[in-house]
Amino acid sequence: MRAPLWLVRVGLVGLPSLVPLLTRSPQAQGVPADHGTIVIAVGTLATLPVPTVITGRWNQDVSDLLFLKLARLGPELATGGDKRFIPQLAKSWTRRDSLTLVFDLDPRARWHDGTPVTSRDVVFTFRRTLEPGVDPQRALLLRYLASVTEEGPQRVVFRFSRAYSEQLYDAVYHVQPLPAHLVDSIPYSRFATSSFAQHPIGNGPYRWVALVPGQRLEFTANPDFFLGAPKLDRVVFIEARDPEAQLNLVLSGTADALENVVPVTNIPRVADNPSLRMLQVPSFTVSYLLFNQRSRSDRSVPHPILADSVVRLAIALALDRATLVKNVFGVYGAVPYGPVPILSWIRDPKVNPLAQDTARARALLRSRGWVDANSDGILVRNGVPLSLDLNYPVTSAPRKQMALGIQEQLRQIGVKVELVGMEGAAWNEARNRHDFDIDFSSVGLDPSPAGLIQSWSCEGLSGTNVGGYCDPKVDSLLIQGIFARKDALPTWRRAVQQLEQDVPAVFIYAPIYAFAVHRRYANVNIRPEGWWAALGEWSVTPGQQLERDRTPP
């Protein structure tokens, strides 16, 4: 069974000659010392990062590299007023009156084909976004925008139907202008499959190079970028759907960065790697136990148990949320106060969520007639046991893990919780059908608190307010918050306080994402509202370039 002699000879002679091919090392060709390349491992590769057809965060994050907004949020992420924004396509803006904003575009701004960015591009994109059926979500967010018009090639005028403090935010944040000269002849129905969408031409710091679906998406630096050419000359996103595979890619050096290391038990593996550093990126996500306040079988009837706010409060008091969060997330999570993300400008850091108080929880339930009649540990009232289903998606490891802790903590006060783990799509459908007692929900919010109205107002009952919560006092405060032209903060905080008092949900955790990034990068900035939007500002610490950094794209 020995290998033939000729094979041994070929191996001895041939293999060394293959080595250079396998480990080819291109020579540096005048790449500046702080320039480089980055390979980012992601769970889902963007396939359509083009404004007006974007779905999913993965597309939105990447579109920030290609398409600028008129202005972006400042570091404090405030969404009210006209001042705390950083110019991008718009050089400046002025207010004509309480309903009119005027933007002057930066004359240096160019599309990647060299054509100047003009007011026509802005007007075209807003009109298209607001066309029926194009993007109902954004159209809803822009419902107070009455018109967008051109005043010459560099000036755009926004008129609103109502005066409110987030007019500028609405004008700049939700829409990224498209090049009208390239896309206005493409009907929207064919836009997603058009050659433009497959090879978009933007105006941002990076230009599109190639997409190989399921494998990689490549960008190259735009050397003519009017706000300063990026120093990372080449950006490549690679797809690995499995979190373990993503981690292996970064640990083995194939990838230089990894977004959101999950589960958190993997974080020590990254921390132990001397070439990587961990970055904490707070999120706009809030996860909560949503109570269904209407009967599951008949929405016109209140829920037999959870319509009672005292029972809901008892459940909130029974939970030791800080321990639940610490056990699952370590330092990568916090307990929110109300449906307010860690980063929201309306968050009040001085107010703490309810602490666990099981004695009070038991007393509250007793006061409503819930007693342990047969000493089996489960409370009963009029023969009905205090038993509730808790729906959660099995695809979410943190929620799955926490659900067990919640079940145990509620058992301590006599509440029986049946855990109903469901596959993601089935869980979503059950939630939208209101088929749950308690739903372990999670939502990624906008930087603006105005979005709270969708899930926590009577107006939202026909939409995403699936728990059936309705308090006119909260509605009134939310509306006041939206339309306050000055000092909106106290109003927003009162609304959140009222929400906490009504206990439509128990707000369990707000995750902090853990990013792994190679240590050679400098000026590393991951923006919570757009993870890779600041990639154009990153550079490589001189003297720490790797071979891949010295290879021209």
Binding site: L18, L21, L22, R24, T37, V39, T47, L48, V53, T55, G56, G133, P136, Q137, L140, A192, T193, A210, V212, P213, G214, Q215, R216, E218, R234, V236, I238, E239, A240, R241, D242, E244, A245, Q246, N248, L249, L251, S252, G253, T254, T395, M422, E423, G424, A425, A426, W427, N428, E429, A430, R431, N432, V443, G451, Q454, S455, S462, G463, T464, T551
Partner: protein, 321 residues
């Protein structure tokens, strides 16, 4: 032969048609729909969901949706993916080569080396080599492929840097072609192929060994040897041909499994094949994409069976009669 072949192909077409019908309606019966998923992601109102439902034809009765799907299939149009908003045929065409490369390589290795080792074991029954190979094949048989993959990638990629940890090509050497491209793909292919081959080869070896042992004791083999034939022709021309039937059945079963069954291995090695695509389609309830992948898998199952039947027909005179 033509009559038999025609009836076999007809049977295959009927099986495929039945599979399509069952798959289509089963998927619609499963809880969850793509728009519920989208609504969850994007906080859409019910009215907005209805607009999208109409856009994708999901507001139509199931029978109309089915007939539209069948008409599309007959035209070679599998519809547009809801999550990716691109034609399903394009998406499948992008992913199929990676799957065929991985599955095909494993299939070839499995049915060459696996068979050869099985025959070797049978020839040397009870020897030290046989005992070692039996132990190894038992271990391979009992090893979950995803676990083996994780161990291999941790050792060979993360710790020793011998092979890439994932993907099909080096993301920074995408523009290359020719030999260096082939070598790059080969380096990326090595670990996933090794993972899948160890497991699948173990099965083939065990089946082949058992089948050969039965045949080697048969009278016609003794007769061949008594006639003074060399051991090589006795083994490969007389014995092996008769010990091939269980392997043909195994081949028919492995063919579809290598398209579908590598979901976990594709996940561990970030291999851009159909396995990860079907996973994506299932979790997002992307009906057109799901039907496209399901159709492809059904086609492979039917094809596997047809190939196995043809091989039986060719090798076994009793079938021809």
């Amino acid at each position: 032969m033509p009559g038999w072949l025609f009836s076999r192909l007809l049977q295959a077409a009927a099986t495929l048609a039945a599979a399509i019908v069952v798959l289509f309606f089963l998927m619609r019966l499963a809880p969850g729909d793509p728009l519920a998923q989208l609504a969850g992601e994007r906080q859409m109102s019910l009215q907005e969901v209805e607009v999208l439902r109409a856009r994708y034809g999901l507001d139509q009765p199931l029978t109309s949706q089915f007939s539209a799907f069948v008409r599309g299939v007959l035209r070679g149009d599998l519809g547009t993916s809801i999550s990716q908003r691109r034609p399903v045929t394009n998406i499948l065409a992008e992913r199929l080569p990676a799957t065929l490369l991985l599955g095909g390589t494993v299939l070839v290795l499995n049915f060459t080396i696996g068979i050869w080792l099985g025959v070797l074991q049978a020839r040397r029954k009870g020897s030290r080599a046989d005992r070692w190979l039996s132990t190894l094949s038992l271990a391979g048989y009992a090893t979950p492929s995803f676990w083996l993959g994780l161990i291999l990638v941790w050792l060979a990629a993360v710790r020793w840097h011998w092979f890439p940890a994932g993907g099909m090509v080096d993301p920074l050497r995408s523009g290359e072609s020719g030999l260096s491209r082939i070598l790059d793909v080969a380096r990326h292919l090595f670990l996933p192929v090794l993972t899948l081959s160890i497991v699948s080869m173990a099965v083939t070896m065990r089946h082949q060994r058992t089948a050969m042992l039965e045949v080697l004791g048969a009278d016609f083999v003794r007769t061949a040897r008594a006639k003074g034939l060399d051991e090589g022709p006795v083994i490969w021309h007389h014995a092996w041909r008769n010990a091939l039937f269980p392997i043909i059945t195994l081949f028919g079963l492995w063919l579809p499994v290598l398209v579908t069954g590598s979901v976990f291995v594709e996940g561990v090695f970030a291999w851009p094949g159909l396995g990860s695509l079907s996973q994506e389609a299932i979790s997002g309830r992307d009906y057109p994409l799901l039907m496209g992948t399901a159709l492809l898998v059904s086609l492979t199952v039917v094809l596997g069976n047809v190939i196995a039947d043809l091989a039986y027909f060719y090798l076994d005179p009793r079938v021809r009669r």
